[in-house]
């Protein structure tokens, strides 16, 4: 729990100005620059690496990377496939260079790319990827990564996309993109399923009109004995029942489940807003069917692979 101050006395601009001290900043900066120049001119980097100066040097360098205001796209462009090298110590005290680089994998019928990743499908014939083992290597290739997102990248296959492609991953996985140092979860194309009209029970005491739904759209044809009730009882007056209504249309409005019903008999055109309902026994049958179909669709939706059209960037899957 933190301290909380309510309505603290404000500080005037003069008070703030009294804390200004540019000279001391300039002095501190000059001192640091001097120290760095001495390090660079008198000793080789190798000297420092073998005598424990590496930690300070690496910490400073990564600090600078962290402060850089480059955007993610620039980072992607700036990463060569094979040039970046990392420095590591080995047991016999010799300094060796271990490469930290993107690996290119090509697709082939014998050895498809998707079998090496958590993809179900991939439209590209090649992919650049890396599996990091330690934080230092991650910072080498992804210098802008935030410390909290760094741990997340460990031991995961990270892949780099230069030109857009589409991929599918299984339903229990998620795709993450590196955006300004953070892993951001990417939304996938939702599984599209057939629209189901939820049956409603006929309201007692409200007028309703039976309409033969042939030709009004497949979604209605699954319910027999469909009746339409108006939003407002007075909208469906007695005059509706004076005609045969050989023609008409049913169009869904912007409000889900509400339709614009237009009935036509020669020059006579009448219209009302309403919704489909069913009488007691037909409703029972229909709601049973509807529930069965809905459960089946939800089950399909849970299992359906997630599809993505991905753009240039750096990604991983979890």
């Amino acid at each position: 729990m933190r301290n909380v101050n309510i309505d603290r006395d404000p500080m005037s601009s003069e008070d703030v100005s009294s804390y200004k001290d540019f000279k001391s900043i300039l002095k501190k900066h000059a001192q640091t620059t001097n120290d760095l120049n001495k390090i660079n001119s008198s000793k080789s980097a190798g000297w420092y690496l073998t005598r424990g100066g590496a930690v300070a040097l690496v910490a400073f360098a990564s600090g600078l990377f962290f402060m850089d205001n480059n955007k993610e796209e620039d980072v992607v462009n700036a990463i060569p496939v094979t040039v970046i090298e990392d420095v590591a110590k080995v047991e016999d005290k010799k300094v060796v260079k271990a490469k930290v680089e993107w690996t290119v994998m090509l697709n082939s019928a014998k050895d498809p790319i998707h079998e090496h990743f958590d993809f179900d499908e991939l439209s590209s014939e090649r992919i650049e990827y890396i599996q990091f083992g330690e934080s230092k290597s991650i910072k080498t290739l992804l210098p802008t990564i935030n410390p909290s997102d760094l741990e997340y990248a460990k031991d995961k296959k990270i892949f780099r996309v230069s030109t857009g492609f589409s991929l599918k991953i299984s339903a229990n996985k998620s795709l993450f993109k590196m955006e300004k140092g953070n892993w951001v979860k990417i939304d996938h194309h939702p599984y599209e399923f057939k629209k189901l009209v939820k049956p409603k029970k006929m309201e007692v005491g409200k007028p309703g009109i039976r309409i033969d739904v042939v030709g009004f759209g497949k979604e209605f044809q699954e319910f027999e004995n469909m009746i339409w009730q108006p939003l407002q009882s007075e909208d469906l007056d007695a005059s509706f029942f004076d005609y045969e209504w050989p023609d008409g249309s049913i169009v869904e409005t912007n409000t889900q489940g509400i339709y614009n019903i237009t009935l036509v008999d020669g020059e006579m055109v009448k219209q009302f807003y309403g919704y489909p309902v069913l009488q007691k026994y037909a409703y029972k049958k229909a709601i049973k069917e509807y529930t069965k179909k809905l459960v089946k669709q939800q089950d399909l939706m849970k299992k359906a692979p997630k599809a993505f059209d991905i753009e240039k960037g750096i990604y991983t899957i979890e």
């Binding site: 301290n3 100005s17 804390y19 300039l26 900066h29 205001n69 480059n70 953070n182």
Partner: protein, 189 residues
């Protein structure tokens, strides 16, 4: 409330770029930028601590780091002010990781009322107390989001630039934090 340092005309941006280039060539010229932004960076830091001297030390460290890394700055849509705020944000977080007791929430009564409205709660002394408790229990990044958005009236774009995230991500994070406050609030009520 529009922060004019985030909303500059092309002429102002170009003129500032000249100041930055001059400072890159000679660090003494950095004083122009220091004088321009000292007060707002100081106030940003002082809003999060209870000690003027500490705010001054942190502020000095922010400008020192900015000077040290000025070579890395070039205008790519992120204003210089945002870059400074971002350094201040990182510097402050680093300080609070080591000295969490220094963290203070400084809030105006009007901001409390606005936040109460935002989480759809009525103004009352009891609610105010619950809200402050909920705020003081938030993780650092979520508290910063609320402070910037509701106390300092920053736009999502400004917050995104300072935190180094996308504008959409900033929105999502702010709304998630509000939801969290609502939940904590309900439990405490």
């Amino acid at each position: 409330m529009i922060n004019k340092e985030f909303h500059k005309t092309e002429v102002q941006i170009n003129s500032e770029q000249e100041d930055i280039e001059a400072a890159k060539n000679d660090t003494k010229n950095f004083e122009v930028l220091y004088n321009r932004y000292h007060e707002q960076i100081f106030r940003y830091l002082y809003a999060r601590v209870d000690n003027q001297h500490l705010a001054a030390d942190l502020c000095s460290q922010v400008f020192y780091k900015a000077m040290l890394n000025l070579e890395n700055y070039s205008y790519k849509g992120v204003p210089f002010a945002s870059w400074l705020y971002r350094i201040a944000f990182n510097e402050m977080n680093m300080h609070f990781r080591r000295n969490s007791k220094d963290r203070t929430i400084n809030i105006d009564s009007t901001n409390v009322c606005e936040l109460e409205e935002e989480i759809e709660e009525q103004e009352s002394e009891e609610n105010k107390e619950h809200l402050l408790k909920a705020l003081s229990g938030l993780p650092e990044d979520q508290l910063s989001l609320i402070e910037m958005r509701y106390f300092e009236k920053m736009s999502f774009n400004q917050i995104a630039q300072i935190m180094g995230i996308t504008e959409n991500n900033a929105k999502v994070k702010v709304y998630r934090t509000l939801d969290k406050i609502k939940k904590v609030f309900k439990i405490k009520s």
